[in-house]
């Protein structure tokens, strides 16, 4: 259980990477942008991959009537996300510590993972909803009003994951270092759950219906 608890302490700490590295990255390449424009989405705001990328993306977007990209103060998410992530890190580490001192059992570990996953899915849902709004809620006086072949207004929603062709731009949206660290940390808590489960020694025999193989090299 010590090994599992240590994993449970380390796992959530990986989420600290979200304060340093971007969560998501969207790159926009085009014939006249051989060095693509790009935005890095952090939990507390959006930054250009190169210094003036945000200004230049906004400059291009004004032709098709998209609003400018949000600044940190424009969206509640950018102040709330850092708090939620901080809370989850603290909670995860606490669960790990309590596991180490045998106050909690391994089931708490998967509990944290499930909660984190729910929050993650909610976050993705929110992110996607923003992108839908950003890409479809266009200025009615836009310079260029483009329509799909069926006559509906063209949407400029970037993909949540993967690549899409948008007018002259190739848009690629992928998780970035922060997200990879988060996934790694979350995976570690699942590992912690299984390691903890294997190492679990029930206090009473009635609890167990089958004999459990125990690896004893961890005392």
């Amino acid at each position: 259980m010590k090994k599992a608890s240590i994993l449970m302490i380390i796992g959530p700490l990986f989420l600290l990477g979200l304060y340093v590295f971007p969560l998501w990255n969207i790159m926009l390449g085009a014939p006249q942008y051989p060095e693509p424009l790009g935005m890095n989405i952090f939990i507390d705001g959006i930054k250009g991959v190169s210094e003036f990328d945000i200004q230049n993306i906004d400059g291009l977007n004004h032709y098709i009537g998209m609003r400018t990209l949000p600044k940190p103060e424009d969206m509640w998410e950018f102040s709330t996300f850092p708090t939620i992530i901080g809370g989850m890190i603290a909670l995860g580490v606490l669960i790990g510590l309590l596991g180490y001192f045998k106050v909690f059992n391994y089931k708490w570990f998967i509990g944290w993972f499930i909660l984190m996953s729910i929050l993650g899915v909610l976050g993705m849902y929110d992110f996607n909803a923003w992108m839908v709004d950003y890409g479809t809620n266009l200025d009615p006086n836009a310079i260029m009003k483009l329509t799909n072949p069926d006559g509906t207004p063209m949407s400029y929603k970037p993909p949540l994951l993967g690549h899409t062709k948008m007018l002259n731009f190739d848009v690629t949206s992928l998780p970035s270092t922060g997200a990879w660290m988060m996934f790694t940390g979350m995976l570690l808590t699942v590992v912690a759950f299984f390691v903890g489960k294997k190492a679990w020694q029930p206090k009473s025999n009635t609890f167990s219906t089958k004999p459990i193989k125990v690896k004893a090299n961890d005392k």
Binding site: I6, L7, F52, N56, G59, T177, W180, V191
Partner: protein, 651 residues
């Protein structure tokens, strides 16, 4: 615990792999590239290996090419007005062309030289000379724009210029014509013994590149033709070829070709520098322009300087010697080790090579052959290292490949001759098309040449390209010199009349080449930093329009209240911060050129409206899909009308 640490190591390893997959591997060159076409072919999307900066001669400007493709990338305006960008037309750049003669919008640009540190190219700046109205300019190699021009007083035909010492301590400018110093009203036929030749040493500040004329050596009235610095062991010396030691003032082609030998003047500039530092020299009244362009104010300023320190070389013992050199030497080149000084007697078949070591020994042994105007003449045999019996005619200039070979151009026999430094044996020769002047190997006049290509720049084109009437561009040829024999691989037209050129490996400059000017560093007096600051102000009959541009509109674009007789200044700030998105500006009937404003830059265009009406202006650079919509109107009312200034956008 062991398993745990493996797991962590694996995860960290994964993290590193994820974050480091952006490095693209270098593409390899084909191993068996053999044909000339393959050697010069730079495939679409790929870039050249070398920059080549070719002087534009009478175009007054500097052109930038790639090697081996021979493609031209840019013309950098230096001494000539350039309507393409508005250089010399915009209010900010007019001061750059100021001289003691007033505004001189043209010059004859001859000899580019890239700055050096420890005798190797460092790629900070390139220096060029204006031959006609003596000037030296410094061009930035991060903006590729002219940053500074200093006029050279007491000089005329600024030809043995603009060569730098091996740590860019000085850029040196020698006069071709000797003239009265100071200038005065006197009979031309009193030339002999009265005219002087000024050799000017202009210091270069190591951090800013700022130039200052430290001292001028007033030499006998010969013609100082070309020069090069000592390097390595000969650092501290500078060598100037001379002709017309006869001091003729008319029909020079005959009168100045009488002496069997003229001189190469060896100047110990460190001795003179020390002499001046200790208070030596004469402060002489002068009047010359020093023009500086500031990258942050985007503005040039011109200051007149009123004094110059002159040095009589006979007052500084050991600072000057003459090396007799046959047949009116033209080129004066120093090999990469600094051991040999090559004098190309342009009326001769042979190339004379002097030895620096022998020169020092001759000075110490006082092996003199008389003197000229108090300057000791060293004995020819005592300084001669060897003679290259070339078999060609009319040697002019020599460059080096860093592998012990020298390449000399022959104007009359129209060829490049490769010979070995030390044995003086000719190794190879190849014809040029036609009558080559200078040649250039990147770094070929430094301690570290890049001996892969030589570019021969010719004076005569004739039938090399499709005919274009009597006047045509000059031709140049590129030779591969990586093997024992030179191989002609390309032939391309050049702009203006290239004299000398300078080249360097591309990667010395590419990383520092600016993409935009930062708007937040724009300190222009009339900058419009946000569209909200755009406005129109009247001061008497001057109207200042603070205008900003961004794809695809001017702010403001409707202006009223201008009157006939006003002086209207359009101060245009380009708000783009994206690479290669300039905006242009031009006004109907304006007696000047357009201006091209780079991202983050401010430029000013002056318009003096002469006719009542509503007059359009527009963006001259195809900036975006809505470039054609990037336009505006100015209402011009009669001089006596009382319509107030008003301006708007989108109303």
């Amino acid at each position: 615990m062991k398993n745990l640490s493996y797991l962590i190591c694996m995860l960290f390893g994964l993290g590193i792999t994820l974050s480091s997959c952006n490095n693209q591997s270098q593409k390899s060159n084909g191993a068996l590239a053999s044909s000339a076409a393959e050697k010069v072919y730079v495939a679409p999307g790929e870039q050249d290996d070398y920059y080549a900066f070719l002087s534009g001669g009478y175009s007054g400007n500097l052109t930038v090419y790639g090697l081996p493709s021979g493609r031209m990338f840019k013309e950098i305006p230096v001494f000539s007005q350039f309507p393409t960008s508005g250089y010399g037309y915009s209010e900010e750049t007019k001061p750059m062309l100021n001289t003691s003669f007033g505004f001189v919008p043209w010059d004859d640009l001859h000899h580019p030289d890239i700055s050096q540190t420890n005798g190797e190219l460092d790629g900070r700046w390139i220096f060029v000379n204006g031959n006609n109205t003596p000037r030296i300019a410094r061009v930035s190699l991060s903006t590729f724009e002219t940053e500074e021009i200093i006029e050279v007083p007491n000089s005329a035909g600024n030809h043995s210029s603009s060569f730098i010492t091996e740590n860019t301590e000085y850029v040196v400018a020698g006069t071709r014509f000797s003239v009265p110093v100071p200038q005065r009203d006197m009979s031309i036929n009193e030339y002999k013994g009265n005219f002087k030749g000024a050799l000017s040493f202009i210091s270069v500040a190591p951090d800013t590149g700022r130039m200052n004329l430290e001292f001028q050596i007033l030499m006998p009235g010969f013609n100082y033709d070309l020069s090069h610095p000592g390097r390595g062991k000969s650092h501290g010396w500078f060598f100037f070829s001379t002709y017309n030691t006869e001091e003729a003032n008319s029909l020079l082609e005959v009168m100045a070709s009488q002496n069997d030998k003229d001189f190469i003047a060896a100047v110990n500039w460190q001795k003179i520098e020390e002499y001046v530092k200790n208070g030596g020299g004469t402060k002489m009244p002068a009047n010359y322009a020093h023009n500086v362009y500031d990258e942050h104010t985007h503005t040039g300023t011109s200051t007149m300087i009123k004094e110059v320190v002159t040095v009589d070389p006979t007052n500084v013992p050991g600072a000057l010697y003459f090396l007799p050199t046959p047949k009116s030497p033209h080129g004066c080149d120093v090999d990469p080790t600094g051991s040999y000084i090559i004098g190309s007697g342009k009326l001769s078949a042979d190339i004379t090579v002097h030895s620096f070591d022998k020169m020092i020994a001759a000075i110490e042994g006082e092996k003199f052959d008389g003197e000229a105007y108090g300057i000791p003449i060293l004995k020819f045999e005592e300084v001669l290292a060897g003679t290259v019996k070339s078999g060609g005619l009319g040697p002019l200039h020599t460059e080096f490949d860093g592998k012990g070979n020298a390449y000399t151009t022959f104007f009359i026999s129209s060829e490049v001759v490769k010979w070995q430094v030390g044995s003086w044996e000719v190794v190879d020769r190849k014809p040029t098309y036609y009558s080559v002047g200078h040649l250039m190997i990147p770094g070929g006049n430094s301690r570290k040449p890049f001996g892969k290509y030589v570019v021969a720049m010719n004076k005569i084109t004739k039938d090399r390209y499709l005919p274009t009437g009597p006047e045509m561009e000059h031709s140049a040829q590129i030779y591969d010199i990586s093997g024992e024999k030179m191989e002609l691989i390309y032939d391309f037209p050049t702009h203006g009349e290239p004299h000398y050129a300078a080249g360097c490996p591309a990667d010395l400059l590419t990383a520092n080449s600016k993409k935009i000017y930062r708007l937040d560093e724009n300190k222009h007096e009339y900058a419009t930093l946000t569209a909200d600051d755009a406005r129109v102000e009247r001061k008497g009959n001057e109207v200042h329009i603070y205008m900003s541009t961004i794809r695809s509109h001017f702010t403001p674009d409707n202006i009223e209240g201008i009157k006939v007789g006003d002086k209207v200044y359009f101060h245009i700030t380009n708000h783009e911060q994206d690479f290669d998105v300039p905006h242009g500006f031009s006004m109907i009937g304006q007696g000047t050129s357009e201006i091209l404003v780079m991202p983050g830059q401010t430029k000013t265009s002056l318009w003096e409206p002469k006719k009542v009406g509503v007059w359009p202006f527009y963006c001259t650079d195809f900036c975006s899909a809505l470039h054609q919509e990037m336009q505006g109107y100015v209402r011009v009312s009669p001089a006596n009308s009382n319509i107030d200034i008003s301006y708007s956008l989108g109303e």
